[in-house]
Protein backbone atom coordinates (compact mmCIF):
# COMPACT_ATOMS: atom_id res chain seq x y z
CA UNK A 1 0.00 0.00 0.00
CA UNK A 2 2.91 2.36 0.75
CA UNK A 3 4.09 1.96 -2.84
CA UNK A 4 0.61 2.79 -4.19
CA UNK A 5 0.44 5.91 -2.02
CA UNK A 6 3.92 7.03 -3.05
CA UNK A 7 2.98 6.64 -6.71
CA UNK A 8 -0.30 8.52 -6.25
CA UNK A 9 1.48 11.33 -4.43
CA UNK A 10 4.07 11.62 -7.21
CA UNK A 11 1.27 11.80 -9.76
CA UNK A 12 -0.84 14.35 -7.92
CA UNK A 13 1.73 16.69 -6.40
CA UNK A 14 2.31 18.64 -9.61
CA UNK A 15 -1.42 19.02 -10.23
CA UNK A 16 -2.54 22.65 -9.81
CA UNK A 17 -6.14 21.85 -8.79
CA UNK A 18 -4.74 19.63 -6.02
CA UNK A 19 -2.60 22.50 -4.73
CA UNK A 20 -5.41 25.09 -4.88
CA UNK A 21 -8.12 22.93 -3.29
CA UNK A 22 -5.79 21.63 -0.58
CA UNK A 23 -4.63 25.14 0.33
CA UNK A 24 -8.22 26.36 0.48
CA UNK A 25 -9.11 23.45 2.76
CA UNK A 26 -6.12 23.98 5.01
CA UNK A 27 -6.53 27.76 5.30
CA UNK A 28 -10.25 28.54 5.11
CA UNK A 29 -11.42 25.87 7.52
CA UNK A 30 -9.49 27.08 10.60
CA UNK A 31 -10.44 30.65 9.72
CA UNK A 32 -14.13 29.81 9.97
CA UNK A 33 -13.78 27.47 12.95
CA UNK A 34 -11.28 29.36 15.13
CA UNK A 35 -10.41 32.80 13.83
CA UNK A 36 -13.86 34.16 13.05
CA UNK A 37 -15.56 32.95 16.26
CA UNK A 38 -12.79 34.54 18.32
CA UNK A 39 -13.05 37.73 16.30
CA UNK A 40 -16.83 37.91 16.58
CA UNK A 41 -16.93 36.81 20.20
CA UNK A 42 -18.29 40.19 21.10
CA UNK A 43 -20.78 40.22 18.32
CA UNK A 44 -20.69 40.33 14.59
CA UNK A 45 -19.24 43.63 13.34
CA UNK A 46 -19.36 44.98 16.87
CA UNK A 47 -23.15 45.22 16.87
CA UNK A 48 -23.27 43.87 20.39
CA UNK A 49 -25.20 40.76 19.36
CA UNK A 50 -23.07 38.14 21.06
CA UNK A 51 -24.62 35.28 19.12
CA UNK A 52 -24.76 36.79 15.73
CA UNK A 53 -21.93 34.57 14.50
CA UNK A 54 -23.57 31.20 13.93
CA UNK A 55 -20.64 28.89 14.62
CA UNK A 56 -19.93 30.05 18.15
CA UNK A 57 -19.04 27.08 20.35
CA UNK A 58 -20.86 26.90 23.66
CA UNK A 59 -19.99 23.41 24.81
CA UNK A 60 -17.22 20.99 24.03
CA UNK A 61 -19.57 18.84 22.01
CA UNK A 62 -20.73 21.84 20.00
CA UNK A 63 -17.08 22.68 19.24
CA UNK A 64 -16.52 19.22 17.80
CA UNK A 65 -19.85 19.45 16.05
CA UNK A 66 -19.11 22.81 14.39
CA UNK A 67 -15.61 21.75 13.49
CA UNK A 68 -16.68 18.55 11.79
CA UNK A 69 -19.81 20.10 10.28
CA UNK A 70 -17.89 22.93 8.62
CA UNK A 71 -15.10 20.55 7.62
CA UNK A 72 -17.65 18.24 6.00
CA UNK A 73 -18.75 21.00 3.61
CA UNK A 74 -15.16 21.77 2.72
CA UNK A 75 -14.60 18.09 2.13
CA UNK A 76 -17.70 17.82 -0.02
CA UNK A 77 -16.83 20.82 -2.20
CA UNK A 78 -13.03 20.85 -2.19
CA UNK A 79 -11.51 17.49 -1.35
CA UNK A 80 -14.01 15.52 -3.44
CA UNK A 81 -13.07 17.73 -6.39
CA UNK A 82 -9.41 16.85 -5.94
CA UNK A 83 -10.33 13.20 -6.37
CA UNK A 84 -12.64 13.83 -9.31
CA UNK A 85 -10.09 15.93 -11.19
CA UNK A 86 -7.22 13.62 -10.35
CA UNK A 87 -8.99 10.55 -11.74
CA UNK A 88 -10.62 12.23 -14.75
CA UNK A 89 -7.30 13.91 -15.65
CA UNK A 90 -5.78 10.45 -15.71
CA UNK A 91 -8.45 9.34 -18.16
CA UNK A 92 -8.05 12.47 -20.30
CA UNK A 93 -4.27 12.03 -20.48
CA UNK A 94 -4.67 8.25 -20.89
CA UNK A 95 -2.25 7.65 -18.04
CA UNK A 96 -4.69 5.09 -16.62
CA UNK A 97 -3.99 2.97 -19.66
CA UNK A 98 -0.27 3.65 -19.43
CA UNK A 99 -0.22 2.55 -15.78
CA UNK A 100 -1.84 -0.74 -16.80
CA UNK A 101 0.57 -1.16 -19.69
CA UNK A 102 3.50 -0.37 -17.38
CA UNK A 103 2.60 -3.25 -15.11
CA UNK A 104 -0.33 -2.38 -12.87
CA UNK A 105 -3.13 -4.90 -12.91
CA UNK A 106 -6.64 -3.43 -12.82
CA UNK A 107 -6.78 -4.45 -9.18
CA UNK A 108 -3.51 -2.61 -8.48
CA UNK A 109 -4.96 0.53 -10.06
CA UNK A 110 -8.14 0.29 -8.01
CA UNK A 111 -6.19 -0.35 -4.83
CA UNK A 112 -4.08 2.73 -5.50
CA UNK A 113 -7.19 4.91 -5.87
CA UNK A 114 -9.02 3.45 -2.88
CA UNK A 115 -5.79 3.69 -0.89
CA UNK A 116 -5.51 7.32 -1.89
CA UNK A 117 -9.06 8.20 -0.78
CA UNK A 118 -8.65 6.35 2.53
CA UNK A 119 -5.36 8.16 3.09
CA UNK A 120 -6.90 11.54 2.18
CA UNK A 121 -9.89 10.90 4.45
CA UNK A 122 -7.59 9.87 7.30
CA UNK A 123 -5.31 12.87 6.83
CA UNK A 124 -8.26 15.27 6.55
CA UNK A 125 -9.78 13.74 9.71
CA UNK A 126 -6.48 14.10 11.56
CA UNK A 127 -6.30 17.74 10.46
CA UNK A 128 -9.91 18.35 11.51
CA UNK A 129 -9.14 16.67 14.84
CA UNK A 130 -6.23 19.05 15.41
CA UNK A 131 -8.35 22.07 14.49
CA UNK A 132 -11.13 20.80 16.77
CA UNK A 133 -8.65 20.30 19.60
CA UNK A 134 -7.26 23.81 19.19
CA UNK A 135 -10.80 25.21 19.08
CA UNK A 136 -11.77 23.23 22.17
CA UNK A 137 -8.71 24.44 24.06
CA UNK A 138 -9.20 28.01 22.95
CA UNK A 139 -12.88 28.28 23.74
CA UNK A 140 -12.53 26.38 27.01
CA UNK A 141 -10.82 29.50 28.31
CA UNK A 142 -14.05 31.38 27.88
CA UNK A 143 -15.70 30.45 31.15
CA UNK A 144 -19.43 30.98 31.40
CA UNK A 145 -20.74 33.96 33.26
CA UNK A 146 -22.01 32.57 36.61
CA UNK A 147 -25.04 34.84 36.37
CA UNK A 148 -26.00 33.28 33.06
CA UNK A 149 -29.42 31.74 33.15
CA UNK A 150 -30.84 29.44 30.57
CA UNK A 151 -32.45 31.94 28.26
CA UNK A 152 -36.11 32.23 27.76
CA UNK A 153 -36.63 31.22 24.15
CA UNK A 154 -39.73 33.36 23.67
CA UNK A 155 -38.06 36.49 24.99
CA UNK A 156 -34.96 35.87 22.91
CA UNK A 157 -37.05 35.31 19.81
CA UNK A 158 -38.53 38.69 20.63
CA UNK A 159 -35.05 40.16 20.58
CA UNK A 160 -34.05 40.18 24.24
CA UNK A 161 -30.52 38.75 24.23
CA UNK A 162 -29.43 40.20 27.55
CA UNK A 163 -29.02 36.91 29.33
CA UNK A 164 -27.26 35.15 26.54
CA UNK A 165 -23.57 34.53 26.71
CA UNK A 166 -21.28 33.62 23.87
CA UNK A 167 -19.89 30.64 25.71
CA UNK A 168 -22.41 29.00 27.93
CA UNK A 169 -20.60 26.09 29.43
CA UNK A 170 -17.83 23.76 28.72
CA UNK A 171 -17.63 20.15 29.82
CA UNK A 172 -14.78 17.77 29.13
CA UNK A 173 -12.75 18.79 26.13
CA UNK A 174 -13.46 15.51 24.39
CA UNK A 175 -17.22 15.57 24.80
CA UNK A 176 -18.64 15.09 21.34
CA UNK A 177 -15.41 13.62 19.95
CA UNK A 178 -17.51 10.92 18.25
CA UNK A 179 -18.38 13.52 15.61
CA UNK A 180 -14.82 13.00 14.38
CA UNK A 181 -15.72 9.39 13.60
CA UNK A 182 -18.89 10.62 11.87
CA UNK A 183 -16.78 13.04 9.84
CA UNK A 184 -14.33 10.29 8.86
CA UNK A 185 -17.08 7.99 7.59
CA UNK A 186 -18.84 10.87 5.87
CA UNK A 187 -15.75 12.13 4.06
CA UNK A 188 -14.86 8.58 3.04
CA UNK A 189 -18.38 8.17 1.69
CA UNK A 190 -18.17 11.39 -0.36
CA UNK A 191 -14.79 10.31 -1.70
CA UNK A 192 -16.06 6.90 -2.79
CA UNK A 193 -18.95 8.62 -4.61
CA UNK A 194 -16.31 10.87 -6.26
CA UNK A 195 -14.28 7.84 -7.37
CA UNK A 196 -17.39 6.11 -8.70
CA UNK A 197 -18.65 9.07 -10.76
CA UNK A 198 -15.14 9.78 -12.08
CA UNK A 199 -14.68 6.24 -13.31
CA UNK A 200 -18.23 6.13 -14.63
CA UNK A 201 -18.15 9.23 -16.86
CA UNK A 202 -14.36 9.73 -17.11
CA UNK A 203 -14.69 13.46 -17.89
CA UNK A 204 -14.04 16.12 -15.23
CA UNK A 205 -16.96 18.49 -15.85
CA UNK A 206 -19.43 15.64 -16.36
CA UNK A 207 -18.24 13.93 -13.21
CA UNK A 208 -18.74 17.12 -11.16
CA UNK A 209 -22.24 17.50 -12.63
CA UNK A 210 -23.07 13.89 -11.85
CA UNK A 211 -21.66 14.26 -8.33
CA UNK A 212 -24.03 17.15 -7.65
CA UNK A 213 -26.74 15.47 -9.72
CA UNK A 214 -26.78 12.48 -7.38
CA UNK A 215 -26.89 14.89 -4.43
CA UNK A 216 -29.90 16.75 -5.86
CA UNK A 217 -31.71 13.59 -6.95
CA UNK A 218 -31.23 12.37 -3.38
CA UNK A 219 -32.78 15.64 -2.13
CA UNK A 220 -35.76 15.35 -4.50
CA UNK A 221 -36.32 11.72 -3.51
CA UNK A 222 -36.15 12.74 0.15
CA UNK A 223 -38.81 15.35 -0.48
CA UNK A 224 -41.08 12.88 -2.25
CA UNK A 225 -40.60 10.23 0.43
CA UNK A 226 -41.30 12.80 3.18
CA UNK A 227 -44.48 13.92 1.44
CA UNK A 228 -45.62 10.31 1.24
CA UNK A 229 -45.13 10.05 4.99
CA UNK A 230 -42.33 7.46 4.94
CA UNK A 231 -39.81 9.56 6.81
CA UNK A 232 -38.48 6.53 8.64
CA UNK A 233 -36.81 5.26 5.51
CA UNK A 234 -35.11 8.55 4.63
CA UNK A 235 -32.00 7.48 6.47
CA UNK A 236 -31.51 4.69 3.94
CA UNK A 237 -30.93 7.11 1.06
CA UNK A 238 -27.19 7.47 0.52
CA UNK A 239 -26.70 11.22 0.95
CA UNK A 240 -29.23 11.30 3.80
CA UNK A 241 -27.31 8.67 5.71
CA UNK A 242 -24.02 10.48 5.03
CA UNK A 243 -25.33 13.86 6.13
CA UNK A 244 -26.99 12.39 9.23
CA UNK A 245 -23.56 11.27 10.40
CA UNK A 246 -23.14 14.92 11.35
CA UNK A 247 -26.70 15.91 12.31
CA UNK A 248 -28.27 18.75 10.45
CA UNK A 249 -28.01 22.28 11.72
CA UNK A 250 -30.29 22.77 14.67
CA UNK A 251 -30.89 26.50 14.50
CA UNK A 252 -32.37 26.56 17.98
CA UNK A 253 -29.31 24.94 19.42
CA UNK A 254 -27.03 26.96 17.29
CA UNK A 255 -28.27 30.43 18.07
CA UNK A 256 -29.70 29.99 21.52
CA UNK A 257 -27.76 27.08 22.89
CA UNK A 258 -30.95 25.15 23.65
CA UNK A 259 -31.81 21.53 23.33
CA UNK A 260 -29.75 18.40 23.16
CA UNK A 261 -27.05 17.82 20.61
CA UNK A 262 -27.81 14.71 18.60
CA UNK A 263 -25.22 12.00 18.86
CA UNK A 264 -23.77 9.69 16.26
CA UNK A 265 -26.35 7.10 15.28
CA UNK A 266 -25.20 3.51 14.94
CA UNK A 267 -27.78 2.89 12.20
CA UNK A 268 -26.39 5.78 10.17
CA UNK A 269 -22.84 4.50 10.60
CA UNK A 270 -23.89 1.03 9.43
CA UNK A 271 -25.90 2.32 6.46
CA UNK A 272 -23.13 4.72 5.38
CA UNK A 273 -20.48 2.02 5.67
CA UNK A 274 -22.66 -0.30 3.59
CA UNK A 275 -22.94 2.42 0.92
CA UNK A 276 -19.16 2.91 0.94
CA UNK A 277 -18.72 -0.81 0.33
CA UNK A 278 -21.38 -0.74 -2.40
CA UNK A 279 -19.75 2.21 -4.19
CA UNK A 280 -16.35 0.55 -4.11
CA UNK A 281 -17.89 -2.64 -5.48
CA UNK A 282 -19.68 -0.74 -8.27
CA UNK A 283 -16.43 1.07 -9.13
CA UNK A 284 -14.69 -2.28 -9.42
CA UNK A 285 -17.43 -3.72 -11.63
CA UNK A 286 -17.34 -0.69 -13.95
CA UNK A 287 -13.55 -0.61 -14.12
CA UNK A 288 -13.23 -4.33 -14.83
CA UNK A 289 -16.07 -4.49 -17.34
CA UNK A 290 -14.88 -1.65 -19.51
CA UNK A 291 -11.87 -1.32 -21.76
CA UNK A 292 -9.24 1.02 -20.37
CA UNK A 293 -9.12 3.71 -23.03
Amino acid sequence: MKKYLQIEYMKIKGNSSFKVFTLLFLILMPIIIIVLPSYFKDGLFGLGREDSYPFMPRTASSTWYYTTYIASWFSFYLLSFIIIFHITNEYAAKTVRQNIIDGYSKLDYLKSKIGMVVFMATTATAYVFIIGLIAAMYFKGNQPDPSTQMPDLASMMAGDMSNQSAVLEFGGMFDGILFILGYYIQVLAYFTVAVLVSMLVRKGALAVLLFFGIFFINMILSGIISMQGFEDILIYLPFNSFSTLLPNFDIEFLIFGLGEMETLSVTTVVVSTAYIALFIFLTKVIFYKRDVV
Binding site: K3, Q6, I7, M10, K11, G14, N15, A93, K94, T95, R97, Q98, N99, I100, I101, D102, G103, Y104, S105, K106, D108, K289, R290, D291, V292, V293
Partner: protein, 294 residues
Amino acid sequence: MAEILEIKNLSKKYGNFIAVDNLSIKINSGEVFGILGPNGSGKTTTLGMLLGVINESSGSYSWFGKSDFENCRKQIGSILEHPIFYPELTAYRNLEIASMIKGCDKARIDIVLERVGLLDRKKSNYNTFSLGMKQRLALASALLSNPDVLVLDEPTNGLDPEGINYMRELILSIAAEGKTIIISSHLLDEIQKMCSHVAILKNGKLIKTGSIASILSDKKHFEINSNQSDFEDKLMSLPIITSCVKESSYYLITCSENVDSEEINKVFFNEGIVLNHLVLHKESLETEFLNLVQ
Protein backbone atom coordinates in the same frame (compact mmCIF):
# COMPACT_ATOMS: atom_id res chain seq x y z
CA MET B 1 12.74 -21.62 -30.30
CA ALA B 2 10.55 -21.00 -27.28
CA GLU B 3 7.08 -19.74 -27.90
CA ILE B 4 6.61 -16.24 -26.52
CA LEU B 5 3.02 -15.55 -27.51
CA GLU B 6 0.17 -17.68 -28.72
CA ILE B 7 -3.06 -16.04 -29.82
CA LYS B 8 -6.02 -18.38 -30.28
CA ASN B 9 -9.18 -17.26 -32.08
CA LEU B 10 -9.05 -13.81 -30.53
CA SER B 11 -11.99 -11.54 -31.35
CA LYS B 12 -13.19 -8.11 -30.32
CA LYS B 13 -16.65 -6.81 -31.09
CA TYR B 14 -18.07 -3.34 -30.51
CA GLY B 15 -21.80 -3.92 -30.93
CA ASN B 16 -22.17 -5.29 -34.43
CA PHE B 17 -18.77 -4.08 -35.53
CA ILE B 18 -16.04 -6.70 -35.47
CA ALA B 19 -12.69 -5.00 -34.85
CA VAL B 20 -10.69 -8.22 -34.56
CA ASP B 21 -12.03 -11.41 -36.06
CA ASN B 22 -10.89 -14.83 -34.92
CA LEU B 23 -7.19 -14.01 -34.92
CA SER B 24 -4.65 -16.78 -34.36
CA ILE B 25 -0.90 -16.09 -34.39
CA LYS B 26 2.19 -17.63 -32.79
CA ILE B 27 5.31 -15.62 -32.07
CA ASN B 28 8.60 -17.24 -31.09
CA SER B 29 11.47 -16.00 -29.00
CA GLY B 30 13.91 -13.71 -30.77
CA GLU B 31 11.59 -12.79 -33.62
CA VAL B 32 11.02 -9.24 -34.69
CA PHE B 33 7.38 -9.63 -35.55
CA GLY B 34 5.56 -6.99 -37.56
CA ILE B 35 1.79 -6.56 -37.48
CA LEU B 36 0.81 -4.84 -40.66
CA GLY B 37 -2.47 -3.48 -41.79
CA PRO B 38 -4.21 -0.41 -43.11
CA ASN B 39 -5.81 2.04 -40.68
CA GLY B 40 -8.73 0.38 -38.89
CA SER B 41 -7.47 -3.13 -39.54
CA GLY B 42 -7.39 -3.99 -35.82
CA LYS B 43 -3.66 -3.70 -35.06
CA THR B 44 -3.95 -1.46 -32.00
CA THR B 45 -7.04 -3.28 -30.75
CA THR B 46 -5.13 -6.56 -30.97
CA LEU B 47 -2.16 -5.16 -29.06
CA GLY B 48 -4.55 -3.55 -26.54
CA MET B 49 -6.05 -6.97 -25.82
CA LEU B 50 -2.61 -8.56 -25.54
CA LEU B 51 -1.58 -5.87 -23.04
CA GLY B 52 -4.70 -6.22 -20.90
CA VAL B 53 -6.24 -2.81 -21.52
CA ILE B 54 -8.98 -4.02 -23.90
CA ASN B 55 -11.22 -6.90 -22.89
CA GLU B 56 -11.45 -9.62 -25.54
CA SER B 57 -14.93 -10.65 -26.69
CA SER B 58 -13.82 -14.23 -27.29
CA GLY B 59 -10.70 -16.29 -27.78
CA SER B 60 -7.58 -16.29 -25.67
CA TYR B 61 -3.88 -15.57 -25.62
CA SER B 62 -0.97 -16.74 -23.56
CA TRP B 63 2.36 -15.05 -22.96
CA PHE B 64 5.36 -17.30 -22.23
CA GLY B 65 3.06 -20.32 -22.26
CA LYS B 66 1.11 -19.06 -19.24
CA SER B 67 -2.56 -18.19 -19.32
CA ASP B 68 -2.18 -15.87 -16.31
CA PHE B 69 -1.27 -12.56 -17.89
CA GLU B 70 -0.90 -10.68 -14.59
CA ASN B 71 2.28 -12.59 -13.74
CA CYS B 72 3.79 -11.85 -17.14
CA ARG B 73 3.10 -8.11 -17.26
CA LYS B 74 6.47 -7.00 -16.02
CA GLN B 75 8.33 -9.10 -18.60
CA ILE B 76 6.73 -7.05 -21.36
CA GLY B 77 7.70 -3.47 -22.20
CA SER B 78 5.20 -1.60 -24.33
CA ILE B 79 4.24 1.54 -26.17
CA LEU B 80 0.61 1.63 -27.26
CA GLU B 81 -0.38 4.20 -29.92
CA HIS B 82 1.58 7.22 -28.70
CA PRO B 83 3.75 8.17 -25.73
CA ILE B 84 1.74 8.88 -22.57
CA PHE B 85 3.29 10.59 -19.58
CA TYR B 86 2.43 13.14 -16.91
CA PRO B 87 3.08 16.43 -18.74
CA GLU B 88 3.95 18.52 -15.69
CA LEU B 89 6.60 16.05 -14.48
CA THR B 90 10.20 15.71 -15.64
CA ALA B 91 11.43 12.81 -17.75
CA TYR B 92 13.10 11.36 -14.66
CA ARG B 93 10.00 11.65 -12.46
CA ASN B 94 7.86 10.04 -15.14
CA LEU B 95 10.25 7.12 -15.39
CA GLU B 96 10.38 6.97 -11.59
CA ILE B 97 6.61 6.39 -11.54
CA ALA B 98 6.93 3.74 -14.25
CA SER B 99 9.82 2.05 -12.41
CA MET B 100 7.79 1.92 -9.18
CA ILE B 101 4.84 0.39 -11.03
CA LYS B 102 7.12 -2.13 -12.70
CA GLY B 103 8.90 -2.77 -9.41
CA CYS B 104 12.35 -2.29 -10.91
CA ASP B 105 15.49 -0.66 -9.60
CA LYS B 106 15.60 3.14 -9.97
CA ALA B 107 19.23 2.83 -11.06
CA ARG B 108 17.81 1.59 -14.38
CA ILE B 109 16.36 5.03 -15.10
CA ASP B 110 19.69 6.64 -15.98
CA ILE B 111 20.73 3.54 -17.94
CA VAL B 112 17.67 3.59 -20.19
CA LEU B 113 17.74 7.38 -20.56
CA GLU B 114 21.32 7.12 -21.75
CA ARG B 115 20.39 4.34 -24.13
CA VAL B 116 17.76 6.49 -25.85
CA GLY B 117 19.95 9.61 -25.77
CA LEU B 118 17.92 11.59 -23.23
CA LEU B 119 20.15 11.49 -20.16
CA ASP B 120 21.06 15.16 -20.51
CA ARG B 121 17.35 16.05 -20.60
CA LYS B 122 16.27 14.00 -17.62
CA LYS B 123 15.36 17.08 -15.59
CA SER B 124 13.34 18.66 -18.39
CA ASN B 125 9.57 18.64 -18.16
CA TYR B 126 7.88 16.15 -20.48
CA ASN B 127 5.74 18.90 -22.05
CA THR B 128 8.91 20.56 -23.40
CA PHE B 129 9.86 17.48 -25.44
CA SER B 130 9.57 17.14 -29.22
CA LEU B 131 7.59 14.20 -30.62
CA GLY B 132 10.79 12.30 -31.36
CA MET B 133 12.01 12.79 -27.79
CA LYS B 134 8.63 11.69 -26.45
CA GLN B 135 8.85 8.50 -28.52
CA ARG B 136 12.35 7.86 -27.23
CA LEU B 137 11.22 8.46 -23.65
CA ALA B 138 8.38 5.99 -24.22
CA LEU B 139 10.92 3.44 -25.46
CA ALA B 140 13.07 4.15 -22.39
CA SER B 141 10.04 3.49 -20.20
CA ALA B 142 9.36 0.24 -22.04
CA LEU B 143 12.98 -0.84 -21.45
CA LEU B 144 13.01 -0.01 -17.73
CA SER B 145 12.43 -3.52 -16.46
CA ASN B 146 14.82 -4.98 -19.06
CA PRO B 147 11.88 -6.95 -20.50
CA ASP B 148 12.09 -10.10 -22.60
CA VAL B 149 9.52 -8.74 -25.02
CA LEU B 150 8.89 -5.28 -26.43
CA VAL B 151 5.50 -4.41 -27.89
CA LEU B 152 5.71 -1.25 -29.97
CA ASP B 153 2.64 0.21 -31.60
CA GLU B 154 3.58 2.58 -34.42
CA PRO B 155 6.95 3.49 -32.87
CA THR B 156 7.98 5.71 -35.78
CA ASN B 157 4.62 7.38 -36.26
CA GLY B 158 4.90 11.12 -36.84
CA LEU B 159 8.69 11.19 -36.77
CA ASP B 160 10.86 12.99 -39.32
CA PRO B 161 13.23 10.87 -41.46
CA GLU B 162 16.10 11.39 -39.03
CA GLY B 163 13.88 10.41 -36.11
CA ILE B 164 12.64 7.34 -37.98
CA ASN B 165 16.21 6.29 -38.71
CA TYR B 166 17.27 6.83 -35.08
CA MET B 167 14.33 4.83 -33.78
CA ARG B 168 14.88 2.04 -36.32
CA GLU B 169 18.55 1.70 -35.37
CA LEU B 170 17.60 1.70 -31.71
CA ILE B 171 15.02 -1.06 -32.22
CA LEU B 172 17.42 -3.12 -34.31
CA SER B 173 20.10 -2.81 -31.64
CA ILE B 174 17.61 -4.03 -29.03
CA ALA B 175 16.58 -6.90 -31.31
CA ALA B 176 20.27 -7.81 -31.72
CA GLU B 177 20.35 -8.53 -27.96
CA GLY B 178 17.92 -11.39 -28.61
CA LYS B 179 14.78 -9.68 -27.33
CA THR B 180 11.50 -10.48 -29.00
CA ILE B 181 9.95 -7.40 -30.54
CA ILE B 182 6.39 -7.04 -31.76
CA ILE B 183 5.82 -3.95 -33.88
CA SER B 184 2.65 -2.74 -35.48
CA SER B 185 2.84 -0.25 -38.27
CA HIS B 186 1.42 0.77 -41.58
CA LEU B 187 4.88 1.95 -42.70
CA LEU B 188 5.70 -1.06 -44.84
CA ASP B 189 9.23 -0.08 -45.67
CA GLU B 190 10.03 0.21 -41.96
CA ILE B 191 8.56 -3.20 -41.22
CA GLN B 192 10.51 -4.76 -44.07
CA LYS B 193 13.73 -3.20 -42.76
CA MET B 194 13.19 -4.25 -39.15
CA CYS B 195 11.12 -7.42 -39.04
CA SER B 196 11.90 -11.07 -39.52
CA HIS B 197 8.24 -12.11 -39.46
CA VAL B 198 4.99 -10.43 -40.26
CA ALA B 199 1.24 -10.81 -39.94
CA ILE B 200 -0.99 -8.87 -42.30
CA LEU B 201 -4.43 -7.86 -41.09
CA LYS B 202 -7.38 -6.53 -43.02
CA ASN B 203 -10.71 -5.62 -41.44
CA GLY B 204 -9.66 -7.41 -38.28
CA LYS B 205 -8.87 -10.66 -40.09
CA LEU B 206 -5.50 -12.28 -40.53
CA ILE B 207 -4.86 -12.62 -44.22
CA LYS B 208 -1.22 -13.70 -44.22
CA THR B 209 1.48 -14.57 -41.70
CA GLY B 210 4.99 -15.95 -41.85
CA SER B 211 8.56 -14.85 -42.31
CA ILE B 212 9.01 -11.88 -44.60
CA ALA B 213 11.19 -14.02 -46.88
CA SER B 214 8.46 -16.66 -47.22
CA ILE B 215 5.76 -14.10 -47.88
CA LEU B 216 7.76 -12.44 -50.60
CA SER B 217 8.80 -15.72 -52.17
CA ASP B 218 5.35 -17.29 -52.24
CA LYS B 219 4.76 -15.74 -55.63
CA LYS B 220 7.69 -14.95 -57.85
CA HIS B 221 7.71 -12.21 -60.42
CA PHE B 222 10.02 -12.22 -63.42
CA GLU B 223 10.90 -9.68 -66.04
CA ILE B 224 11.06 -11.50 -69.38
CA ASN B 225 11.30 -10.66 -73.07
CA SER B 226 11.98 -12.34 -76.42
CA ASN B 227 12.48 -11.20 -80.00
CA GLN B 228 10.23 -13.96 -81.39
CA SER B 229 7.02 -12.79 -83.06
CA ASP B 230 4.75 -15.42 -81.41
CA PHE B 231 6.13 -14.72 -77.96
CA GLU B 232 3.18 -12.71 -76.73
CA ASP B 233 0.58 -15.30 -77.86
CA LYS B 234 2.46 -18.19 -76.24
CA LEU B 235 3.07 -16.18 -73.09
CA MET B 236 -0.64 -15.88 -72.37
CA SER B 237 -1.32 -19.59 -72.96
CA LEU B 238 1.19 -20.95 -70.42
CA PRO B 239 -0.65 -22.35 -67.35
CA ILE B 240 2.22 -21.55 -64.99
CA ILE B 241 1.70 -17.82 -65.55
CA THR B 242 -1.07 -16.27 -63.49
CA SER B 243 -0.63 -12.67 -64.57
CA CYS B 244 1.26 -10.71 -67.14
CA VAL B 245 1.79 -6.97 -67.41
CA LYS B 246 3.53 -5.30 -70.32
CA GLU B 247 6.12 -2.79 -69.18
CA SER B 248 8.16 -0.55 -71.50
CA SER B 249 10.98 -2.99 -72.30
CA TYR B 250 9.79 -6.28 -70.84
CA TYR B 251 6.83 -8.31 -69.60
CA LEU B 252 6.34 -8.67 -65.86
CA ILE B 253 4.94 -12.12 -65.15
CA THR B 254 3.70 -13.72 -61.94
CA CYS B 255 3.95 -17.49 -61.63
CA SER B 256 1.49 -19.72 -59.84
CA GLU B 257 4.21 -21.97 -58.45
CA ASN B 258 7.37 -21.32 -56.53
CA VAL B 259 9.73 -21.61 -59.50
CA ASP B 260 13.20 -20.25 -60.09
CA SER B 261 14.74 -18.60 -63.17
CA GLU B 262 16.15 -21.87 -64.50
CA GLU B 263 12.74 -23.53 -64.49
CA ILE B 264 11.14 -20.51 -66.21
CA ASN B 265 13.77 -20.64 -68.91
CA LYS B 266 13.13 -24.38 -69.37
CA VAL B 267 9.35 -23.88 -69.63
CA PHE B 268 9.75 -21.29 -72.37
CA PHE B 269 12.44 -23.31 -74.16
CA ASN B 270 10.09 -26.31 -74.26
CA GLU B 271 7.54 -24.05 -75.93
CA GLY B 272 10.11 -23.08 -78.55
CA ILE B 273 10.80 -19.64 -77.19
CA VAL B 274 14.25 -18.31 -76.47
CA LEU B 275 14.24 -15.54 -73.87
CA ASN B 276 16.65 -12.67 -74.34
CA HIS B 277 15.74 -11.09 -70.99
CA LEU B 278 15.06 -12.99 -67.77
CA VAL B 279 15.43 -11.25 -64.43
CA LEU B 280 13.93 -12.15 -61.05
CA HIS B 281 11.84 -9.14 -60.15
CA LYS B 282 12.52 -8.26 -56.51
CA GLU B 283 9.19 -7.83 -54.81
CA SER B 284 8.75 -5.32 -52.05
CA LEU B 285 6.59 -5.94 -48.99
CA GLU B 286 4.62 -2.92 -50.05
CA THR B 287 3.64 -4.51 -53.38
CA GLU B 288 2.74 -7.78 -51.68
CA PHE B 289 0.80 -5.93 -48.98
CA LEU B 290 -1.15 -3.95 -51.55
CA ASN B 291 -1.89 -7.12 -53.50
CA LEU B 292 -3.19 -8.77 -50.34
CA VAL B 293 -5.31 -5.97 -48.95
CA GLN B 294 -6.83 -4.65 -52.13
